[in-house]
């Protein structure tokens, strides 16, 4: 473990930014944290988390896949892929860091998504342990430790500075490159900080949220639960929960006619949308009930079913604060848990 003094944080940023793009949470026009590229004068946000998740770095909302040019009856396919530049994300919380594992389970298994892989390979993730969790936090439900996030490097706030721990080769490399800024330290301060945070987490209203009633192998039981009707009743069918979610990974592929060619791009899609996976025969989930159920079945049943019991949720709590009508995964889980064994 290495220690960075309070004063040297921005020297560390400058050292990284000199070589590659550095992104970190910054307060925006409306005072909310959002990832922005660091340059001299840009200040790190002290908010718990960003409005949008960190998945954007590896799975952006829109990206071009390829282009076509047409002339007469001839079509040229243009591969627009190119290796992306190295970049560093600083300040990723434990929940978002865990979301990358979930996305990896989708995009890095066969067939590998080359667009995602490209970004993943060139990105270094520096996580930042939570100091002041909120009532909407429930990462613990999914075995995530807010006080010990993963990532290539983990950073803890301690009284008089920051403690860094490299977790991967990428992380080691980065720290080695900036070694002169650091001094050696032990894990005492970190342990103290971790104990404090874990103690707070235990007091949070969602601390006792469990995955009772959901999980791998429960497709039939959960799918047929009558509560879906009332749970989905007031859902507006917007994509807010999906788009702020760090683990939602569905996309749509569309063509855009630029007037001088076609751009084939993909963009985030939401299973809450009425045209999600619409086919020539129509919409396989004709009402909001089915669409709503799909989202939670996927996260709480189908995903664990296909991924060794790993849930498709990291408990970041974004959907809890952002849903226009305050319906969310926690309410769903609690409802399903309640009547589950009846």
């Amino acid at each position: 473990m290495k220690k960075l003094s309070l004063a040297k944080l921005y020297d560390f940023f400058a050292a990284i930014a000199a070589k590659e793009a550095l992104y970190l949470p910054v307060n925006n026009e409306v005072g909310k944290a959002e990832y922005k590229r660091w340059s001299e004068g840009v200040e790190l946000s002290h908010q718990l988390n960003t409005l949008r998740s960190a998945k954007d770095f590896f799975f952006p909302q829109t990206e071009n896949l390829m282009e076509f040019k047409m002339e007469g009856k001839k079509i040229d396919i243009i591969d627009t892929r190119e290796a992306c530049d190295d970049f560093v994300i600083f300040g990723v919380r434990a929940c978002d860091a865990a979301s990358f594992d979930i996305l990896d389970r989708v995009y890095l298994v066969d067939p590998v998504d080359s667009y995602y892989k490209n970004r993943r390979e060139h990105g270094t993730v520096i996580t930042h342990a939570c100091g002041k969790p909120a009532e909407t936090c429930f990462c613990g439900t999914f075995g995530i430790d807010a006080a010990d996030p993963k990532g290539d490097i983990t950073v803890w706030d301690v009284e008089d500075g920051y403690v860094f721990r490299a977790n991967t080769e990428k992380g080691e490399k980065l720290m080695a490159a900036t070694a002169d800024l650091f001094e050696d330290t032990d894990d005492k301060a970190v342990k103290a900080e971790q104990d404090k945070v874990r103690e707070i987490l235990a007091k949070m209203p969602l601390a006792d949220l469990t995955t009772e009633g959901v999980g791998a192998g429960l497709t039939k039981e959960v799918f047929d639960r009558p509560e879906w009707a009332s749970l989905s009743e007031s859902c507006l069918g917007c994509g807010t929960c999906t788009f702020v979610c760090p683990t939602c990974q569905c996309y749509d592929i569309r063509d855009f006619d630029t007037g001088h060619g076609i751009q084939r791009f993909r963009c985030w899609d939401s299973c809450m949308y009425s045209d999600f996976t619409k086919m020539s025969a129509g919409q396989p989930r004709p009402t909001q009930l089915e669409r709503f159920r799909q989202r939670f079945m996927h996260k709480l049943v189908y995903f664990p079913d296909n991924n060794d019991g790993v849930f498709g949720c990291v408990g970041c709590g974004r959907c809890l604060s952002r849903c226009p009508i305050s319906m969310n995964i926690v309410k769903v889980m609690k409802t399903l848990a309640k009547g589950g064994n009846k």
């Binding site: 047409m70 007469g72 006619d257 007037g259 001088h260 919409q283 004709p286 009402t287």
Partner: protein
């Protein structure tokens, strides 16, 4: 995918002179979906059309793009040619590369590029065109003529002659119009009343013609073949069906001080009056502004003397609704108000009169019983000066006058000069003119007679000022040919005032949705080829409301107009424009936004059953468009937030495809 044929017209050198037609044909030939592309000298010619038809057959075309003159010229021609080969006429699009390209751009490269882009836009549109079928709507076999002057009378008589019903709506108490006020007519010098009144009587007696005199059009709804018109029959306070026109009331009425508009206010009439002896309908009218009984409730003499019991002081305006298949605007004209012309002293000097006032002064039924006496002292004038072009042919910036030539003034002034010289040879007559315009049969001969035979002094020059000089008028003028200033002491000065469309024409045009030019003359559908039709289907133009005309021209236009009206009324059904709005019921919210902007009331709503998700049934309120009533403006398409309402032939996607092609 369409199979599109592209045909580029040279229009002789009209297009080919500035646009490289071969290059356009070549470039458009490479567009997706184009299977045939060629150019030809005159696509609209018989052989050009044959070429197109042959290509349609041989290349199995499903769509056609013609790059030629304006679609307003030949769209119909090419649609018809295409339909002869079995292609729906609405699969033809025109790229206007003449009016919009070759005629305005001089640089060949630039013009050719633009022609190619307009061609591409037309191709992009054709790709999205759908075959459209025109509907049919029935025709009400009755015409409405607005205005009962000679134009309206002639049009009505001709329509009636063909066996159709006609209504004439005239705002004054009698038909006859301005012609009834004229004394003699040029170039024959026959008496206006003698030739007009038989026609008035014919109109009054014709079974097919119904005259609504003292009435005004209040609202017009509907469309060609099916107009619904509200007519306000103003209260005459005299029962038209009872009044015999004996005139006793008009003699006994104690209120005698009403300016007589028929005589241009130069004498008075009674509060109850018949405008003139030959009025049709010959029915008395009470002028409510002057009638003691109506104003104070004291009098009632007319009622007492009326043997027929026709007087009805309690009469109210009545609004009636009538249906018509076609409407004729024959709203006529008025002389402009000469008061604005201070320099000619019209407002201040009583002996400065307008030509129409002179007509009355010379008419046997006029205020002087036909003897030419000047208004100030009833003396016989010995020197008369005519001033031409008062308010005509003015510059655009002149707010008092009109930019156009009033056309009739040169001839009626020659007539006046000639008549004065003939009746009163001791009178000197001077005419100041800018140009003397005499195109027309026997017109120039007539003018020359005035100069040569009658010794009228024609002086090319402008009158600068007319001032009262004792009992006489001092006329300051310039003689442009002699290059000198003149002073003439005249006894009477006559102003040939410009004519302008009647003030009511503007509101009538709005009701008829007929367009007008900046001078408030009705616009014709085509200045040369469709001079008696308005661009609005079913609206026709007769007489001076379309532009200045003399009587023979008015009458011939009136008859031409009647022929066009008969053309409509003779049909049992009219083919509707298939480019109408259509509502996609699957998208319609039933919110009524579209209905609010539809000028024709073509949109209605009904609750319909739809298949909902999971075998449910939903009932939704949805809009539907009556294609016979919709005229295809498209207002509803923009009012509709969901995009349910679209316009056939000009759909959202078609227009956006054109935008894309143009901006590319």
């Amino acid at each position: 995918m369409q199979r599109i044929g592209v045909f580029i017209c040279h229009c002789g050198t009209n297009i080919a002179g500035t646009v490289d037609v071969k290059a356009v044909a070549e470039a458009l030939g490479h567009e997706a979906g184009v299977v045939f592309s060629t150019e030809y000298q005159y696509m609209c010619s018989e052989s050009g059309q044959q070429l197109m038809r042959k290509a349609i057959r041989e290349h199995k075309l499903t769509g056609v793009v013609v790059c030629s003159c304006s679609p307003r010229m030949h769209e119909a021609t090419f649609r018809k040619a295409a339909s002869l080969e079995g292609i729906n006429p609405y699969m033809v699009e025109i790229a206007n590369i003449r009016e919009h390209v070759s005629w305005i751009h001089k640089d060949m490269k630039e013009a050719t590029e633009k022609a190619i882009i307009l061609g591409r836009a037309a191709i992009a549109k054709v790709h999205l065109n759908q075959p459209l079928q025109a509907g049919e709507s029935p025709v009400t076999k009755r015409a409405l003529v607005i205005g009962g002057g000679i134009a309206g009378i002639q049009t009505a008589l001709d329509i009636a002659e063909a066996g159709f019903e006609v209504d004439i709506v005239e705002k004054s108490p009698t038909i006859g119009g301005k012609m009834a006020q004229l004394d003699k007519t040029f170039p024959t010098l026959d008496c206006a009343a003698c030739i007009l009144t038989p026609k008035m009587v014919d109109a009054g007696q014709n079974e097919k013609i119904k005259i609504f005199a003292y009435s005004e059009v209040e609202a017009v709804k509907g469309y060609v073949g099916n107009f619904n018109v509200s007519i306000r029959r103003k209260a005459r306070y005299v029962d038209e069906t009872k009044c015999t026109g004996c005139g006793l009331c008009t003699e006994k009425c104690p209120q005698k001080k009403v300016p007589n508009e028929f005589n241009m206010g130069m004498n008075n009439r009674h509060a109850i009056y018949i405008p003139f002896a030959q009025a049709v309908p010959k029915v008395a009218t009470i002028d409510a502004d002057y009638c003691m009984m109506l104003k104070t409730g004291k009098c009632g003499i007319c009622s007492k003397v009326c043997g027929a019991g026709a007087i009805d002081y309690k009469q109210q305006d009545e609004v009636i609704e009538r249906q018509y298949g076609a409407i004729v605007a024959a709203t006529g004209f008025n002389p402009i108000d000469a008061k604005a012309y201070n320099e000619y002293g019209y407002a201040t000097c009583p002996d400065v009169v307008t030509s129409l006032e002179l007509e009355r002064l010379m008419n046997a039924a006029g205020p002087t019983n036909g003897t030419l006496l000047r208004p100030s002292d009833n003396e016989h004038p010995h020197t008369v000066v005519f001033v031409q072009c008062v308010g005509s042919r003015c510059t655009e910036t002149d707010e008092r006058g009109k930019p156009y030539c009033s056309k009739i003034c040169c001839m009626y002034t020659a007539k006046h000069a000639m008549l004065i010289r003939e009746k009163y040879p001791d009178t000197d007559v001077y005419v100041f003119y800018i140009d003397v315009r005499t195109p027309g049969k026997n017109f120039d001969e007539f003018y020359r007679r005035a100069v040569e035979q009658y010794g009228v002094h024609y002086i090319k020059g402008m009158v600068g000022k007319v001032t009262q000089n004792g009992k006489q008028l001092r006329v300051q003028a310039s003689d442009l040919l002699a290059g000198e200033q003149l002073h003439i002491d005249a006894d009477l000065v006559v102003l040939a005032t410009a004519i302008e469309p009647d003030k009511t024409a503007r509101s009538i045009a709005t009701m008829l949705t007929a367009s007008m030019d900046t001078n408030d003359f009705f616009t014709e559908a085509h200045p040369k080829l469709r001079p008696v039709e308005s661009p609005t289907a079913g609206i026709f133009l007769s007489g001076v409301c379309q532009g200045p005309k003399d009587i023979p021209e008015t009458v011939s236009q009136a008859s031409a107009c009647a022929a066009k009206v008969i053309g409509v009324l003779a049909k049992d059904k009219l083919t509707c424009n298939p480019c109408v709005a259509q509502s996609d019921e699957m998208l319609c919210n039933g919110c009524s936004s579209c209905e609010k902007v539809c000028p024709y009331g073509a949109i209605s709503y009904s609750d319909k059953e739809f298949r909902g998700p999971n075998r449910t049934t939903l009932i939704r309120r949805v809009a539907s468009v009556n294609p016979a009533v919709c005229q295809g403006c498209g207002a509803c398409t923009v009012a509709c937030p969901s995009g349910a309402m679209d316009l056939k032939g000009f759909s959202n996607k078609q227009i956006m495809a054109e935008v894309d092609a143009i901006c590319q």
